[in-house]
């Protein structure tokens, strides 16, 4: 019953390591993405580092895809993972934009 509703098929023993590693890397790469993005914006890193931040987002999205595939997620969870990937992409832009606006208003 659980197998029919929750996931398309059972997880194989050999697939657990890939699931755990890929889900860990989702946040590790996601952390690198937002970290490099923010560090470039606040001038702790040079501008040339910015493409690397987006490279890390692509890796994040790939790891989310890998994780979802190996978990054999149902359609709903697959959509939730896509929303999470887009959320991670937009997050530093939105937070930085708002923080910087307030910072500027505070200074001038």
């Amino acid at each position: 019953m659980v197998g029919e509703v929750l996931m398309t098929k059972d997880i194989l023993v050999d697939e657990f390591l890939t699931i755990f590693v890929s889900s860990t890397l989702v946040l590790v790469f996601g952390g690198f993405y937002v970290g490099i993005y923010t560090a470039v914006k606040v001038k702790l890193l040079k501008n040339w580092a910015m493409p690397f931040s987006y490279l890390f987002w692509i890796l994040t999205a790939y790891c989310l895809y890998l994780m979802g595939s190996y978990m054999h997620v149902n359609e709903f969870t697959a959509k939730a993972l896509v929303v999470a990937a887009i959320g991670i992409l937009l997050l530093p832009h939105a937070v930085y934009y708002m923080q910087d606006r307030v910072h500027e208003e505070n200074e001038h």
């Binding site: 997620v73 999470a84 930085y96």
Partner: protein, 474 residues
């Protein structure tokens, strides 16, 4: 040590709370070591302090020391934020002694009485049998009274003095924090219903109200320690409140997968759990942003000086951002979806996540507050680290990371052997427990637990002596 530099009674009361919290923190580690030893030597303290008792004290002491340190943190920052002495401080002091005495009695009952008859007298006088919040009902009621007094102090002070954004968030958050506790006080003989309400307390504390508390204290710390602009910090705080409550409240679904609740919780839990790491990632950005901006402004003036006014505390605040990200984020995320949680729930993975998330997200920040109090108590303008600070920090944080890694290894065996290969059967459970890899994970957990415990003594020695060191700027 004299309180000569503390100009308000509220801050003096905060130091009482911090001191008691540090003692209970030590008790938590001690009983954690007892339980860890029992995994390696099962007969250790058999029928004296059994595993069930050691574990009960370990995890209840965890909650108690953090609650004490959280209340202390609020009493510490209130005069700074509101510009006035805390209203009703006499009541606050009385309630501190009532609370501390009640905790001592509860712990003594846990240790000396341990279990009682299977009727209401055990619920009222010994413990309720609910993990993390096992205080007997008389203590439950006492805790509610004490916390109501604390809420009165906070609200009366916030309404009389300058109500900053931080104080406003804390007023709302502490009310929710106290109110949610009531959900764990009822009694039912239906275990599914009992667990349903119990998770309201545990989840809505640690993944909603406690995280918002962390955001508020981090905001106060960034303003105090690196001079971050209040408007920026407070604006961030509101975003964080929205993100944490937005994802955290229904993220509770990931606890409802297998306890007898309807299956729609799979979908709700999956969606909101997928979003839960976002605020944690954002918190990481925030610390980096403020630090980079403030240090950049200082460098632009041509001054090569650090903007950090309390290096040991700031180190713990940075470790909070990292520990929260790793413990709550990474270790939470990899078993938060129902598809994989089917195999991982109730294994040592949960324990690994619990260790790093509780310590990383809350313990670190509260230790940072201890150092802020030491700085204020000793009238230090810029407090530098000592060798003991560095050793204590490294041993404790390294020890907790080591325990987490060891428990993850054992959890992996649990998942593969006990669940995936042998289908969550009794024989599967014992097969997993007897595995060489599982046992080696338990050995390393004990070793790293000893490192953490020794680090605690170095930390205490540092907290007691760092104020007298001569290399600070006064």
């Amino acid at each position: 040590m004299a309180n000569s530099y503390l100009t308000t009674e509220s801050k003096k009361l905060a130091t009482w709370y911090f001191t008691f919290a540090a003692i209970i923190f030590g008790a938590q580690l001690l009983f954690g070591l007892v339980a860890a030893t029992q995994y390696v030597i099962p007969g250790f303290l058999f029928e004296i302090v059994d595993f069930s008792v050691a574990r009960m004290i370990h995890i209840n002491a965890l909650v108690v020391w953090m609650v004490f340190a959280m209340i202390g943190s609020v009493y510490w920052l209130l005069p700074d934020e509101t510009g006035i002495e805390t209203v009703g401080i006499g009541l606050g002091k009385l309630l501190f002694w009532v609370f501390a005495a009640a905790i001592v009695v509860v712990v003594l009952v846990y240790l000396l009485v341990q279990v009682g008859p299977a009727d209401e007298t055990s619920l009222w006088l010994i413990h309720e049998g609910r993990e993390y919040i096992e205080a007997p009902r008389w203590a439950d009621i006492g805790i509610v009274v004490v916390v109501l007094g604390f809420i009165y102090n906070l609200y009366a002070t916030g309404m009389k003095g300058n109500r900053s954004g931080i104080v406003t968030v804390l007023m709302a958050d502490m009310l929710a924090f106290a109110g949610i506790y009531l959900a764990g006080m009822g009694y039912t003989d239906n275990i599914s219903i009992d667990q349903f309400w119990w998770w309201w307390v545990i989840h809505l504390w640690v993944e909603a109200t406690w995280e918002v508390f962390v955001g508020s204290i981090a905001a106060y710390g960034l303003i105090t320690m690196i001079g971050a602009h209040r408007k920026v910090v407070e604006m961030w705080l509101w975003i964080e409140v929205a993100m944490l409550f937005g994802s955290g409240i229904l993220g509770m679904g990931h606890h409802y997968f297998w306890i007898g609740t309807p299956e729609y919780w799979w979908e709700i839990g999956a969606l909101f759990s997928a979003l839960e790491p976002l605020p944690l990632v954002a918190m990481f950005i925030h610390v980096l942003y403020d630090w980079g901006k403030m240090q950049g402004e200082e460098s632009a003036k041509g001054q090569d000086v650090s903007v950090i006014a309390n290096k040991p505390a700031f180190t713990w605040f940075v470790l909070n951002a990292i520990g929260n990200f790793l413990g709550a984020g990474v270790w939470g995320f990899f078993h938060t979806f129902p598809q994989v949680n089917l195999y991982t729930h109730g294994t040592q993975f949960t324990s690994a996540h619990g260790h790093l998330a509780f310590f990383g997200a809350y313990g670190t920040l509260l230790i940072g507050m201890f150092y802020l109090a030491v700085q204020g108590k000793n009238g230090i303008k810029v407090m530098n680290a000592t060798k003991k600070s560095i050793w204590g920090t490294s041993m404790i944080f390294g020890g907790v990371l080591g325990m987490t890694a060891a428990l993850t290894l054992s959890g992996y065996v649990d998942v593969l052997v006990s669940r995936a290969q042998m289908g969550a059967t009794w024989s599967g459970y014992f097969e997993g427990q007897a595995s060489m890899w599982f046992m080696q994970g338990m050995d390393w957990r004990l070793i790293m637990g000893v490192v953490t415990f020794l680090g605690f003594f170095v930390l205490v020695a540092d907290l007691l002596s760092i104020g007298k060191a001569t290399h600070h700027k006064r």
